[in-house]
Subunit: 270 residues, 2 copies
Amino acid sequence: MLDAEEISSPQNPRIKNLVKLRNRRPRDKQGVFIAEGYRAICRALEKDVIPRDLYFSPEWFLGENEEALLKEAQARGANLFELSKIAFEKVAYRDRPEGILGVIEQWSHSLQDLPLSKPPFLLIAESIEKPGNLGTILRSADAAGVDAVVCCDPVTDLFNPNVVRSSTGVLFSMPTVMTTSQEVIEWLRQNGIASVATTPHTDTFHTDVDMTGPVAIIMGSEQFGLSEIWLDACDQKARIPMAGQADSLNVAMAALVTLFEAVRQRNAAR
Amino acid sequence: MLDAEEISSPQNPRIKNLVKLRNRRPRDKQGVFIAEGYRAICRALEKDVIPRDLYFSPEWFLGENEEALLKEAQARGANLFELSKIAFEKVAYRDRPEGILGVIEQWSHSLQDLPLSKPPFLLIAESIEKPGNLGTILRSADAAGVDAVVCCDPVTDLFNPNVVRSSTGVLFSMPTVMTTSQEVIEWLRQNGIASVATTPHTDTFHTDVDMTGPVAIIMGSEQFGLSEIWLDACDQKARIPMAGQADSLNVAMAALVTLFEAVRQRNAAR
C-alpha cells in the first residue's frame, strides 16, 4: 500500500490544473511541466529529476513495477496522489493511459552556464513547430554527443508534453537553453564557435564543411527554414545532397544527418 | 460540379468495405490499399499512380483545389463517389479528415525485376513493426537515392495506411519488394551485392565499412534487432557510435545515418 492523498472527483482543483498544464502559459506561470507514463518517470528518476507531484491510478497500470517506482519517487521527495479511474482518465493526454503522471519543476540554463567540451559542439534549433521534431532533435543530439541544444525564438517550448514524450527521456539530461537568435549569435561570436547553417540555398554539401573545430549546427523551422537573421550571420552554409523528393528529409532527419557527419569528422580528426 | 455516384448512408456496402481495408487481410485479398488526404492523392497522381476509386465529401474539404484534383483523377481513369458528411467520417482514419480518400491497386515487384544502378545500392528492412518507422525508412531511402527498399518477413506491410501516410508519397515511386530473408540472402549472393548488417554487436563503426561498391544496408526490427539469419549471413557488421542513451536512435534514425554515410562514401569515390 502506498501512502498517498486520495482524489476521486474529476472536478477536484488539482485535476483541473493538470489539464491546464497541457498549455504553455499555465506551465510557464507555475514553472512546472508534466511527464506521463511509467517509462518517462523511470527516465526522470534515473537522471535524478524528481517529480514534485506524482499522480497515479492503479486501475490503469499495465505492469507490476509501478508501485515500486512510486515508492522510490516518494522516498526521494515526490508527493503522491492516488486518483480514481475517471479522474485519471481526465488528466491523461496519451491514448493509452498507464496510470502515472508526474508534475516536474522546470529548469532553465543560460548560454553562459553551459558546460562546453573542447572543442564545443552544439545544435541550435530555430522556431521548430512540431513537438515530435523537437523531441527527435533532442534524441539525435544526445546520440551525437553535443554539449547542448539551444532553442532560438521557440514556437514550441521544450516542456510541451509531446516534446517530453518524444525525447524519450533525453530532455531530462540534455543541457538546453531557450533564448533569442540575436543572443545566440552574439554568444557564438564571443566564444569563437563557428555556425554552420543547414539550408538548401547553397551549393556546398555538409560533407565538405569542416566541422572538426568549435561548431554549432543551425536548423531552421519546418515551414520557413532558417530566418534571414541566421542566413546572414552564419559562418558557413551547408546542404544535404538530395536524390529523391525535395521534402523527403524533414528538419529532424536533416539535423540527424548533419550531426553524424560532424561526429564522423570529429572522430577522424582525433 | 463533379459527375460522381452519390453515397449518403454509412451503412452502404462500399463504406463498410473502406473501413475493412484498414486491415491487412482484406487489403491483400482485394489487392488494393487506401490513401487519405489531399496531399497523398496529389503525390499519387504526380507519380502516375491513378486511384481506382476516389471517395470525397466537400463538407470536409479544407482548401479550394480539391475539385480540380478530383477532376484530373477522373480524367485519368478514377471512379468518383460523393459521400455525405457522416459517411465520410466513418471511412476517414485520420484525426482531421480532409474529405478525400482513394482506393489504389497494390503492385508488387520481385527481386528479379528491380532496376539496379551500377553499383547497386539497397536498403533491406527485416520485420519492421511500426508503420511510422517503415514510412520514415522509405523517405530516408528516397533521399539517399537507393535503388529499392526490400522488406523481409514483413510484420507491417508496405500498404498499411500509416506507412502510406508517413512515407509522404515515397511509397508511390520507390521500387519495393516484400519477401523472405532467405530469398534476399540468396539473391544478394547471386548478384555479388555485399550485405552490411547494422547491429550493436560489433566493434566496427559504420564509417569504417566500405560501402562504395554493390551494397545492401540491412536493418532489423525495433524490438529484436536483426535475426540470427542475417547476423550469420551478412558480409559485414557495423554499428553507429552512440554518445548518449542506448536507445536515442531508433531503427529509422539508424537507417538514415547509415544510408547517408554510404552516400558520402559513394560520392567521394566517384
